[in-house]
């Protein structure tokens, strides 16, 4: 008979303990797991990315129903244990009594609420679990106001998350600088400045007097009289170990539940792990120590000797774009020396605190790459006398070795910690790589390194690169997808050199590992084939992403948006009337002017698309390809027709370009603009292709960007006539179509091949230019057609409708 193990609390510590236990001896115990939250174990620290919208709850679940089933864990989620009867060895909960042979208490801690007037009002939330997070998400909204009380790790992550959701956020902090337990004043200042730069207000030395509001919060008033209006108040002022249950059962408690080195409480059959425990006088509030405790507790339960000796912790802030690391004790004091490095321009601050030539404290802001190395020296108590002069510059300089980005990682000893969350050191990763884990995913699965907050992903990749040497697949040479080992460039080359003209031919010749590809490779192959063989290949709608298959952008609720073309941004009263009529007829909820000088009809039902297109077609409007990896818009300014500065007919040229290029498919979308003079009202200098008109002609720039990256165009050529300008632009686009990797915008592609290579083919070699233009026109002879007109045809309409309607039938 298996012994009965009851676990109270389905949190991070107990989840990890159960994993170790089940790996060790799955049959030793039959486990019952109580959790007050109505859900199983999840990665609590990742609530911050959930709050900011970077992750979903589903992505942070650590143990799912399958896992519990496979390990025969009897789950009682949503059920709190209310009493422990140690004499009869049972725990009491809503469903009655559950007997145990061994009991594990892992009840975590609760957020502390400062007892000021108003602290119980609606709209005052703490930040601990998924319900809190969802409450914050529900309250968030553009322009609404949030006040976060507490400028520690948790409060700042809440503030950044709410700000990312569009809220106007103020952080109130009692102390003189933010995160005073993890940061010294200088770093606290840099952090405050960075948050303020992101429009998060920070008020230090703020003593909360009261929370205002009748039924719901309306604001927060400080002792100094300042009032901050608020739609939501987040309290993140600290945590308190959950020990009431243990205390009432008569277990020895201080601030937390007392445990010995084997994680056993004052009752030999009851163990405890996590934030609820106090070990050697310390309570912890970070996961790394809890994971150590979990391992020891599992070993104790399995009858093995194991001891937990306390932890030195280090901290990182999980706010995208803020690099901050601290560890150990960095307060000033007698006998303490420090080494400080600052780079004001780059916003970098580093400080090491030394006692008798050993590092005892670390604070890094702005550049945290060496955090792991310093932390290793700290934990080992290494004497740093002989590298003291260069110590602050990190391992790359230690011992006078040359500066090399990889050197820092190479210099790490085997027991240097790489992943702080999971306590994985370099040696463990190197071992896993030796045992066959040769990519990031595999290392993550085997060691858990970078599996929690993910901030060490770069380091893990560097360890991979170092250990595998040339065998490491650098990210640049990634295969197209899991269906093949070939890169995009290799596939493109093979399609041309081996005359591969159908998708099955490509998959066969290139040794695809799947029968019909996947959602990553098929759209790429479809593009390569149609661009290389415009006459022979037939476009495959089933290999296109929904937007390009339905010729409209899918919205988050499954409806679509419709954007008719407005050539060069010019429209007429008749076109506007037709758009207005369509909006009325199909009850379009939102009509918006886009950033591309045209009108977007948002929220159209799929079934209505063909009808709407037919109506728009009737007024002379065609698809604007706002959904396409193809020519989008040609933005123009008013030019010589109206503007007193205009040097050329920029509007006219824009329209000509758009008419020549519309309908062409490209590796990624292509946007263009023509400005009538260097004042550049059409923003031509940040487009994929931009023309600036000047008295003597046209300056053509290419490879600009203004999306995820911002970059000015690079000059391609200056020409005297519109005809020459058109020819250069067409040739440039065709060169891009024939050579770029799918989903590289022109600026990314040009960065790979170089402007000189492009100029040689498009500008200098007239014959090559003419060939490019000829091939472009050939492709246009096939592809320049209005997809809306095609899809509005009676033949195509049914595919936008349900196959059958059983609403009545099945309800009989």
């Amino acid at each position: 008979m298996a012994e009965k193990l009851v676990v109270i609390g389905a949190g991070m510590a107990s989840g990890r303990m159960l994993e170790h236990l089940c790996e060790g001896d799955p049959d030793r115990y039959s486990v019952t797991l109580f959790g007050e939250e109505p859900r199983g174990n999840y990665n609590r620290i990742m609530l911050s990315p959930v709050l900011s919208g970077e992750k979903t709850y589903e992505e942070i679940v650590t143990h799912d129903a399958d896992w519990y089933a496979a390990n025969r864990v009897d789950c009682r989620f949503g059920e709190a244990v209310t009493r422990i009867d140690r004499d009869r060895k049972v725990v009491v909960s809503a469903s009655g009594e559950t007997p145990y042979d061994k009991l594990l208490i892992a009840t975590g801690s609760s957020p502390f609420v400062i007892p000021v007037p108003g602290s119980k009002l609606d709209g005052v939330v703490t930040y601990r679990d998924l319900d809190d997070t969802n409450a914050m998400i529900a309250a968030a909204g553009s322009g609404r106001k949030a006040v976060v009380i507490g400028g520690g790790l948790l409060g700042l992550e809440a503030a950044a998350g709410l700000q990312a959701r569009g809220m106007d956020v103020t952080v109130l902090h009692l102390m003189g600088h933010l995160m005073e337990r993890q940061l010294d004043e200088a770093a606290g200042y840099l952090l405050k400045a960075e948050l303020e730069r992101r429009a998060i207000r920070v008020h230090v030395l703020a003593n909360t007097h009261e929370i205002q509001g009748k039924d719901r919060v309306t604001g927060v008033r400080l002792d100094d009289g300042t009032v901050y209006p608020a739609d939501i108040v987040v309290m993140a002022v600290g945590i308190r170990p959950n020990v009431e249950l243990a205390k009432s059962a008569g277990l020895a408690c201080g601030r937390g539940l007392h445990v010995d080195d084997a994680m056993v409480t004052s009752d030999a059959d009851i163990l405890a792990v996590g934030e609820c425990v106090e070990h050697g006088g310390t309570c912890y509030g970070l996961v790394a120590p809890l994971y150590d405790m979990a391992r020891v507790a599992a070993q104790t339960l399995l009858g093995q000797d194991a001891a937990y000796r306390g932890s030195i912790t280090s901290t990182k802030l999980k706010v995208t774009g803020i690099d901050l690391f601290s560890g150990g004790d960095f307060s000033d004091g007698e006998g303490r020396e420090e080494i400080v490095y600052r780079d004001p321009g780059a916003g970098v601050y580093k400080r090491l605190v030394l006692v008798q030539n050993r590092i005892v404290g670390i604070v890094l802001y702005g550049d945290t790459a060496d955090g792991g190395w310093f932390f290793g020296l700290l934990k080992d108590g290494t004497d740093i006398s002989d590298m003291r002069d260069t110590l602050i510059f990190g391992p790359a300089y230690a011992g006078g070795s040359p500066l090399d980005p990889m050197a820092a990682v190479a210099a790490l000893p085997d027991d240097a910690e790489i992943c702080g969350c999971n306590g994985v050191c370099k040696g463990t990763i190197v071992q896993a790589i030796g045992a066959g884990a040769t990519d990031l995913d595999a290392v993550r699965t085997v060691t858990k390194a970078s599996g929690s907050c993910g901030t060490c992903t770069g380091l893990v990749e560097q360890v991979l690169a170092l250990t595998l040497g040339d065998a490491f697949q650098a990210p640049a040479a990634r295969p197209v997808c899991g269906c093949t080992d070939l890169t995009h460039e290799e596939v493109r080359r093979l399609i041309k050199s081996q005359d591969l003209k159908t998708m099955p031919a490509v998959m066969q010749a290139c040794g695809w590992k799947t029968s019909c590809g996947c959602h990553i490779c098929r759209p790429a192959l479809n593009y390569y084939l149609l661009s290389d063989w415009p006459l022979e290949y037939r476009d495959d709608p089933q290999s296109r992403f929904v937007n390009e298959r339905h010729h409209a952008n899918i919205q988050k609720d499954g409806t679509f948006s419709v954007v008719p073309r407005m050539w060069g941004g010019i429209t007429t009263p008749d076109e506007l009337r037709a758009i207005a009529d369509a909006a009325d007829k199909y009850s379009v909820p939102t009509v918006k002017v886009t950033g591309g000088q045209r009108i977007d009809l948002l929220g159209v039902r799929k079934e209505d698309l063909p009808g709407m297109w037919a109506d728009l077609n009737a007024a002379g409007l065609v698809s604007g390809h706002a959904y396409a990896k193809g020519l989008r818009t040609v933005k123009t300014c008013v030019g010589t027709d109206h503007c007193r500065f205009g040097t050329q007919d920029s509007t006219g040229l824009g329209i000509k370009i758009e008419r020549r290029l519309w309908g062409s498919w490209t590796p990624h979308k292509v946007k263009m603009a023509v400005s009538g003079c260097p004042r550049n009202c059409a923003e031509a200098t940040c487009k994929d292709v931009g023309v600036i008109c000047v008295d003597s002609g046209f300056e053509i720039g290419v490879a600009g960007a203004a999306g995820m990256d911002v970059k000015a165009t690079e000059p391609l050529a200056k020409v005297a006539t519109e005809e020459e300008a058109m020819e250069l632009i067409v040739a440039f686009v065709q060169l891009y179509r024939e050579n770029a990797k799918y989903l590289d915008r022109p600026y990314k592609w040009v960065a790979k091949v170089g402007m000189d290579w492009v100029r040689e083919r498009v500008v200098e070699d007239a014959e090559n230019r003419a060939d490019l233009v000829r091939r472009f026109d050939l492709s246009q002879s096939v592809y320049q057609k209005d997809p809306w007109a095609e899809h509005a045809a009676p033949r195509m309409r049914p595919s936008y409708r349900p196959l059958a309607d059983l609403t009545l039938e099945a309800a009989e």
């Binding site: 979903t56 589903e58 992505e59 679940v61 799912d64 799947t514 029968s515 019909c516 590809g517 996947c518 959602h519 098929r522 759209p523 709608p541 089933q542 290999s543 296109r544 992403f545 929904v546 298959r549 339905h550 899918i554 988050k556 609720d557 499954g558 799929k606 049914p798 595919s799 349900p802 196959l803 059958a804 309607d805 059983l806 609403t807 039938e809 099945a810 309800a811 009989e812």
Partner: protein
């Protein structure tokens, strides 16, 4: 008891494509694979409700058009790192016509009610 009803012809669905069938409890997506197998799954992605019928069909699976979760036609389960599943309904093809089990569809309406 199964109760097969005719919902249309297979050729109304493109290979590696889908169409939907409307029911009182929302749409069911009918998929046709490259190998002419037909499957019926709930059309609502458990992630954020994406219409699976608008996804890309590959092998015996479909990729949701909104955030790329991949669902297996045999089990309705999400493959890869994501967790989630949609209901799968029995379908057959006879003489080029697609038949679906109405009893199972009704059971689904019962659940939704």
């Amino acid at each position: 008891m199964s109760e097969w009803i005719d919902i249309g012809e297979m050729d109304a669905i493109p290979r590696r494509g889908a169409r939907v069938v409307k029911t009182a409890a929302g749409c069911v997506a009918i998929f046709r694979t490259e190998a002419d197998e037909v499957f019926a799954l709930d059309d609502r992605c458990p992630h954020k409700g994406g219409p699976l019928s608008d996804g890309i069909v590959h092998g015996k699976s479909v990729t949701c058009p909104l955030h790329n979760w991949v669902f297996d036609f045999d089990t309705g389960r999400c493959t890869g790192p994501d967790e989630g599943a949609v209901a799968v309904y029995p379908v057959r093809v006879e003489n080029g016509r697609i038949l679906i089990d109405a009893a199972r569809l009704r059971a689904r309406i019962g659940e939704a009610a």
